[in-house]
Amino acid sequence: MVKLNLLLLAALVFCALSLVTSRHQARKLFVELEREQKLARTYDVEFGQLQLEQSTWAMPARIENIAREQLKMQLPRPGRIQVVDGGSR
């Protein structure tokens, strides 16, 4: 009887300790998850800002301005356009 009780006690202590460790593990992993999620949110924010930046740089008004002013590009006059037939379509 005593033997059985001791065995049960040992099992109980073992269970209790493993509960404590797994609990600790879970918390540690959770903190890590939180940190990663926070990071993901910051990247998300950064992505939005970069998208905004990209579309601001890519505004047709700006591109046209650069093409005309810096690169001195212009539309060809009708007389200088030659249409190439799309071939045997």
């Binding site: 879970a26 918390r27 959770f30 903190v31 939180e34 998300d44 924010v45 939005g48 800002q49 998208q51 905004l52 579309s55 601001t56 890519a58 505004m59 047709p60 008004a61 046209e64 009708p78 007389g79 356009i81 030659q82 249409v83 799309g86």
Partner: protein, 576 residues
């Protein structure tokens, strides 16, 4: 204790007999009281203590949700929300050295006097600055000024600025839509923040998720039918024309002739949605959808189509418009220039009011009404845009002959610009009225048939004659493409009478052999000397259409050399 008093009893004088039980009873009662109280707190009145306890370790956190982006048809972002910080202060609690205040003013880009004024305010709460970039806010937090705090908020940015502002609208406080698509699609775009309960440790780190109070619902992205390249093009050309003609306002719509999608919708005057302080309400109106006007001669093709459908005339039937006037009852209709005998085709080409009125009067009112109504006039567009108006088409029973005659050339009926552009889908297709939409469609969309295919083709041919020499709008020609369209120059109504102010318009489509785009241009009160649709609106149509077809890579259907330089083309001034 009891044992002690018992041993002492032998040596000391006898104590009162009841003392010991009494004390024992009292102490027992106190213990019972304590136990009862603790039981009470543990089982019955436990809310307060539990709350106090959990407030030491548990927190309810808000899970933020983004507002969805608005994209153009190719996925280019037109509106994006990014998190920013609102810097606020509790003036009474602010403790700062002059140096700190100086640094704060610099970081906020406020003059020190303005900052001091805000901090002197007699409020518990004052915003120092809103929509501050997160890096700037971090710098301010690093100053460590007591009583100065920051809050998370979202700010919406519109990279397109004034070019897109009328379609998109804008959001107000808390990123809630207030105008345009932002308002109309609030339910789709808006996110609902969620909440969760967590356990934190003494360092304030979250260590465990306890419960999900509410799942956040992220706002969804919305793809519009707008092509941002065409939109920019439309806005640029429209602005140039409005400035050149010193006009009060203007509108331009580009429709996809196959799907009815709105590819571009520009309005002037405009505003920059990123900086709306002191913008008049007036400038925010999306005139192409929320304002109606009398279309004038752009309505003539519908009269002709009704007559062709009814079998009253053929394209080559002859109408005598001499002497250039037509008297009905007390009213007289004028042609600005006498034309004499015209074919039905030429009535459209030269835009003769008398001719159109004669053709209209040969029709029963119901017949004409059903064609106009079939083309979508007088009925809501159902574009889903807030504040959209449907224009007015009175029931045929109430028409007097003079009204039927003036309606033939677009007076006594009102439309908005998008409605007018949509009506032309019946000529751009073989008689189908396409439903318009601001949202992207996957493929061609079928609409209800309104005209017989041969009627639509006959009118399309007449509309092509309009831009040819002898028509009212040679300036609408586009090199390399066959173009069809119709001018309009309408007197404006003010206080019930027609005044000498005009609305110049042009609606057309190209390539005429297989229409891809429909463009409607409207210039309100041009006052730069010119006011005819053929000279004010047609050039805008031509430049936008030419560039748009090139951008979309639409194959040419006419030789490039076919065009006449605009100055040499004979232009017929049209009626009003």
């Amino acid at each position: 204790m009891i044992a002690m008093s018992a041993t002492r009893a032998a040596t000391t004088p006898k104590l009162p007999r009841l003392r010991a039980p009494l004390l024992f009873g009292m102490l027992l009662a106190l213990f019972v009281l304590l136990a009862a109280r603790s039981l009470y707190l543990q089982w019955i009145d436990n809310a307060f203590l539990q709350e106090q306890g959990s407030s030491r370790y548990s927190r309810d956190l808000e899970v933020p949700a983004h507002r969805g982006r608005i994209l153009d048809r190719f996925g280019e972002p037109l509106a994006i929300s990014t998190p920013v910080k609102a810097i606020w202060a509790w003036p009474e609690k602010v403790e700062a050295t002059p140096g700190q205040l100086q640094a704060l003013a610099v970081a906020l880009e406020l003059p020190p006097s303005a900052l001091a004024a805000k901090l002197d305010a007699n409020d518990d709460f004052v915003y120092l600055k809103r929509a501050v970039a997160p890096e700037v806010a971090a710098g301010i937090a690093a100053l460590g000024i007591k009583g100065v705090h920051d809050d998370d908020e979202y700010r919406r940015y519109y990279p397109g600025g004034e070019v897109m502002s009328h379609i998109l609208g804008f959001t107000g406080d808390r990123d809630v839509g207030q105008e345009g698509i932002e308002l109309a699609q609030q339910a789709w775009l808006g996110g609902t923040p969620g909440g969760r309960r967590v356990i934190i440790n003494r360092r304030g780190e979250v260590v465990e998720d306890v419960a999900n109070i509410r799942s956040p619902r992220e706002g969804r992205d919305l793809a519009l039918s707008i092509d941002s390249r065409l939109q920019y093009l439309a806005y640029r050309e429209l602005r140039a024309a409005v400035e050149l003609n010193k006009a009060k306002a203007g509108g331009l719509v580009i429709l996809d002739a196959r799907t009815g999608e709105i590819l571009a919708l520009a309005n002037l005057p405009s505003y920059n949605p990123n900086n709306r302080t002191r913008v008049a309400r007036e400038r925010m109106r999306n005139r192409a959808l929320t304002d109606i006007f009398e279309p004038g001669s752009t309505l003539k093709p519908f009269t002709i189509a009704a007559a062709l459908e009814a079998g009253k005339v053929q394209p080559s039937s002859v109408i005598d418009t001499a002497p250039g006037t037509l008297t009905i009852g007390k009213a007289t209709i004028h042609d600005a220039h006498r034309e004499g005998v015209l074919t039905v085709e030429q009535v459209v080409q030269k835009s003769s009011n008398v001719g159109a009125a004669q053709i209209a009067l040969s029709l029963p009112p119901e017949r004409m009404w059903s064609t106009l109504s079939g083309a979508g006039f007088g009925a809501p567009l159902k574009s889903g845009f807030p504040g959209e108006v449907s224009g007015r088409l009175r029931p045929a029973k109430s028409w007097r002959p003079i009204e039927q005659a003036t309606m033939a050339y677009g007076h006594g009926i009102s439309v908005n610009l998008v409605q007018l552009a949509r009506a032309y889908t019946i000529f751009a297709t073989d008689g189908e009225l396409k439903p318009v939409t601001l949202f992207k469609e996957a493929g061609p969309v079928a609409g209800p048939p309104v005209l017989k295919a041969e009627t639509a083709r006959a009118v399309r041919h007449m509309l092509e004659m309009v831009v040819m020499p002898g028509g009212t709008a040679p300036k609408a020609q586009v090199p390399g493409y066959r173009v069809a369209g119709k001018t309009g120059t309408a007197h404006k109504l003010e206080g019930g009478t027609y005044i000498n102010k005009f609305v110049a318009s042009f609606v057309g489509f190209a390539p005429a052999s297989n229409p891809r785009l429909i463009i409607a241009v409207m210039i309100d009160e041009p006052s730069g000397g010119q006011y005819y649709g053929g000279s004010v609106a047609a050039p805008v149509f031509s430049s936008v259409m030419g560039a748009a077809l090139r951008l979309l890579g639409v194959p040419t259907d006419a030789p490039l050399s076919s065009i006449l330089p605009p100055a040499e083309a004979a232009e017929v001034q049209e009626e009003t």
